[in-house]
């Protein structure tokens, strides 16, 4: 029984960074901007969180610094693609490459140093409940933040006027502009939110997942987050399903490899990807609904005619 809870906890830890980065990117893409720089923003968040926590001794300060770093890095992307109207795909890729390089440079002096862990919360009695106590009431703060983010984004997008405006811009930026909506300003805010989320996701990696700094420690998670957004057909709760599924199969295949069933390890390593794609394709097989949720102006540059 304790074993089940331990596995659940590792699954949550593996899923949380994907979930946070993906929910941020979901908002960005719903506004019609494709930011392929998630990986770069995430690794900048990871190195900033580690460095600030190391220097100040406070994991909390590290976490906030990571959020700021991710947002600042995304502001660069926003300036390039929204103000200078450069190509979004190329700019996003450049952001990722820049992030990987810059983080390696910043982090060089931190390699091998002991990290500061963001401690799990502890609520008397509740945390000690059998079976689910630690999963529900004994995890790190970023886990709870990630769930709040999903619920918050879902509420924002589908229940508030600002969310409606954001979806409208993603559907047809020309019409939105004609209505007098501030397309560029809204997109900047969305891009900054996406960057802040990616930064937070990075902080989770270097403060919770493995509290140390290793070069390139995001290991492609930013790309998985990007894919999750698409396969979840831009719906927040489906991103949650996708992220946990990916986390679960990742942990599951690690245990399977340890037990050694004679299956090739490469096949097992690819299982999380296959399983996630399969399930998300199945839940989004209603083509009409999927296409309705797809932001029509995704990736298209917007220049107001004046």
């Amino acid at each position: 029984m304790e074993m089940t809870q331990a596995i659940l906890l590792t699954v949550a830890t593996a899923a949380t960074p994907l979930l946070i980065a993906a929910i941020g990117e979901l908002v960005v893409e719903r506004s019609g901007v494709l930011n392929l720089g998630v990986e770069g923003m995430m690794i900048m968040g990871a190195v900033t969180a580690f460095a600030v926590a190391q220097l100040t001794g406070s994991a909390w300060l590290g976490m906030f610094a990571a959020i700021l770093a991710g947002a600042a890095f995304s502001a660069l992307f926003g300036f390039l693609t929204l103000t200078l109207v450069t190509n979004q795909v190329a700019s996003g890729l450049a952001l990722t490459i820049l992030g990987l390089g810059a983080s390696a440079m910043i982090g060089e002096s931190f390699v091998g140093l002991p990290g500061v862990r963001l401690e799990p919360i502890h609520i008397p009695y509740l945390t000690e409940l059998p079976l689910v106590g630690r999963f529900l009431f004994g995890q790190d703060p970023i886990f709870y933040l990630s769930i709040l983010l999903v619920a918050g984004v879902a509420w924002f997008l589908f229940r508030t006027r600002a969310g409606l405006t954001l979806r409208a811009i993603g559907d047809n930026h020309g019409s939105a502009h004609a209505l007098g909506v501030h397309v560029i300003r809204t997109r900047y805010l969305a891009v900054l939110f996406g960057g802040a989320c990616a930064g937070l996701a990075g902080a989770q990696l270097s403060l919770v997942y493995v509290p140390q700094w290793v070069e390139n420690m995001t290991a492609g998670r930013g790309w998985i987050a990007l894919a999750l957004v698409v396969f979840a057909s831009w719906r927040p709760w489906r991103v949650l399903i996708g992220a946990y599924l990916f986390g679960a199969v990742t942990i599951g295949q690690l245990h399977t490899q340890a037990l050694g069933f004679g299956l090739p390890s490469q096949f097992l390593s690819s299982l999380p990807y296959l399983a996630t794609i399969l399930v998300l394709v199945l839940i989004s097989r209603n083509r009409r609904l999927t296409m309705m949720n797809t932001p029509t102006s995704l990736g298209k540059p917007f220049v107001p005619d004046r």
Binding site: R161, N172, G180, R287, M291
Partner: protein
């Protein structure tokens, strides 16, 4: 134009000028709108009507000129400012969001103080009050063009404007839907609201409007009372010269003798996207020497039908489409062209022509399969024969009167009407046995339209079969020998022109069979 008149105009725009680069789109335009009048803004495509009203609505900024609103000078810097002054606009190309519901679309343009949850019921109330029924929870992408326009109008009315700008509102409506719109507009006028009505349909303007301002090439050429003018005199003001009248001689021989050149038998096709239309068991035969028109409101399957006939989408069985008697349902575009067919799609830029390529390349792209002997040389090397292409472009420009800057400009450098003449001329140059045209004169000025229509008639009379898909009923009645109606992906029987009336076609477009009662809606 006295400044101290007692009945102050609602809107007084003085010497409004707008330039795009070296093009003067609007040149010192004056326009005065009184409270409680329907004011027509007339002009051909490209005369500057849309540019002008965009400045009144704040989506564009004038380079010079002044606007007085209720006697006060104002600067309309954005649509939000226009709305707060009391100016509402219903766009020609609707500014709606396909993936949002009707209520969400309406909410987007309303005051932020109105809670989202109230909007559906308010929209329904105002719709009922003005005879514009609406389902607030329907997705806009699923609605017909007429229903979308209703949303636009309700959205505009909910802002309680004093001036409503309508940009070509009837161009997408059936005659019956247009009649219903006029009733709504007259009701609004009776309530003291002013309407700026943009159109190039003269009969409508004569029937509805109190005053008219006519634009030509960005300048005001006349202020007049349309009810005192004739359609011909208004047309002369718009165009500057008399419009050439299209001459339609009757087809030679009886239908029985003519050879069928295009046969469509049992064409069915599932919808291909979330907002596309399914085609259901369509039947049509075109004979040599005749022009058949397909009427219908946009979005009833015309685009899908064109793609199926042109071979952009293949059929499940070869004998569903026969060209010149040969089964071509599984053949691609090039093969269908080789069988003698030619196609002109609706969208000029991007579908009919590549905007950033010169005319010679655009010519080659549609004719490399059928005329490889003329336009390619060097045997297996297949080098472009630039001289042959150049002279073909010159020939087409001459016969179709294509006005272009330079020898061989990019397609995007031509105006809409000239590019359309070129694209149709490119296909006519081949003397195709079958020509299928979708919206031949959409957004084309009157002079060019007349030229295109005459060319289509001439092609048919020389022994080809011509199929025209159009939403312009007047055009179809002018040039077709038979007319069929497309509605919700079904195609009616093609009626000989002698049996067709505007009213009958209108009813069929709305879903009723010819000679039967109107069947209920969807």
């Amino acid at each position: 134009m006295s400044l101290t008149s007692t009945d102050q105009p609602l809107l007084d725009a003085r010497r409004i000028t707008k330039t795009f680069g070296s093009l003067v789109a609007c040149d010192a335009i004056d326009l005065v709108i009184q409270p409680g009048e329907i004011h027509a803004l007339l002009g051909e495509n490209g005369a500057g009507k849309s540019t002008f009203v965009k400045m009144l609505f704040g989506s564009l900024q004038p380079v010079s000129g002044e606007i007085f609103w209720k006697g006060r000078p104002v600067s309309i810097s954005s649509p939000a400012v226009a709305r707060s002054l009391g100016i509402g606009m219903v766009f020609q190309h609707f500014s709606l969001f396909d993936s949002l519901t009707a209520a969400e679309n309406i909410a987007l343009s309303l005051d932020k103080s109105i809670p989202l949850s109230d909007i559906a019921s308010r929209a329904r109330d105002i719709g009922e009050a003005y005879g514009l029924p609406l389902d607030p929870d329907a997705l806009v992408g699923d609605l017909s063009v007429g229903e979308r326009q209703r949303i636009e109008i309700i959205r505009c009315l909910l802002q309680e404007p004093d001036l409503i700008i309508l940009d070509e509102p009837t161009s997408v409506l059936t005659p019956q839907e247009a009649d219903r719109l006029f009733v709504t507009l007259e009701r609004l006028r009776a309530e003291g609201k002013s309407i700026l009505y943009i159109s190039h349909r003269l009969e409508e303007v004569k029937r509805l409007c109190d005053r008219a301002t006519v634009l030509r090439h960005g300048k005001v050429v006349a202020h007049c009372d349309p009810r005192k003018e004739t359609a011909a005199s208004l047309a002369r003001m718009m165009v500057g010269t008399d419009i050439r009248i299209v001459h339609r001689n009757p087809p030679k021989g009886g239908d029985g003798e003519a050879r069928p050149l295009l046969e469509i038998a049992g064409l069915s096709q599932p919808p291909r996207g979330p907002f596309s239309t399914a085609l259901r068991d369509m039947q049509l035969v075109l004979h040599a020497g005749e022009i058949v028109g397909i009427a219908g409101v946009a979005g009833n399957g015309q685009g899908e039908f064109f793609e199926a006939v042109s071979g952009e989408v293949l059929q499940i069985a070869p004998d569903i489409v026969r060209i010149g008697g040969i089964a071509a349902g599984r053949a691609g575009i090039s093969r269908r062209r080789e069988l003698g067919a030619a196609f002109v799609p609706e969208e000029r830029l991007g579908h009919g022509a590549v905007p950033e390529l010169p005319l010679t390349d655009n010519l080659f792209l549609s004719r490399y399969a059928t005329d490889s002997g003329t336009f390619l040389r060097g045997g297996a090397l297949k080098v472009l024969a630039q001289n042959a292409l150049q002279s073909a472009v010159k020939r087409i420009a001459k016969t179709m009167d294509v006005r272009k800057s330079g020898e061989n400009p990019d397609a995007s450098a031509l105006s809409g009407g000239n590019l359309q003449k070129f694209i149709i001329g490119r296909e006519l140059d081949r003397k195709p046995a079958v020509l299928v045209v979708n919206q031949p004169t959409w957004g084309v000025d009157a002079g060019a339209s007349a030229h295109i229509r005459q060319a289509l008639i001439d092609l048919a009379r020389s022994g080809s079969a011509v199929l025209i898909i159009s939403q312009d009923l007047d055009e179809l009645l002018e040039i077709c020998d038979r007319i069929a109606v497309m509605n919700h992906g079904t195609l009616s029987e093609a009626l000989p022109i002698g049996e067709v009336t505007l009213e009958k076609i209108g009813l069929m477009m709305g879903g009723a069979d010819a000679g039967h009662e109107i069947a209920g809606g969807m």
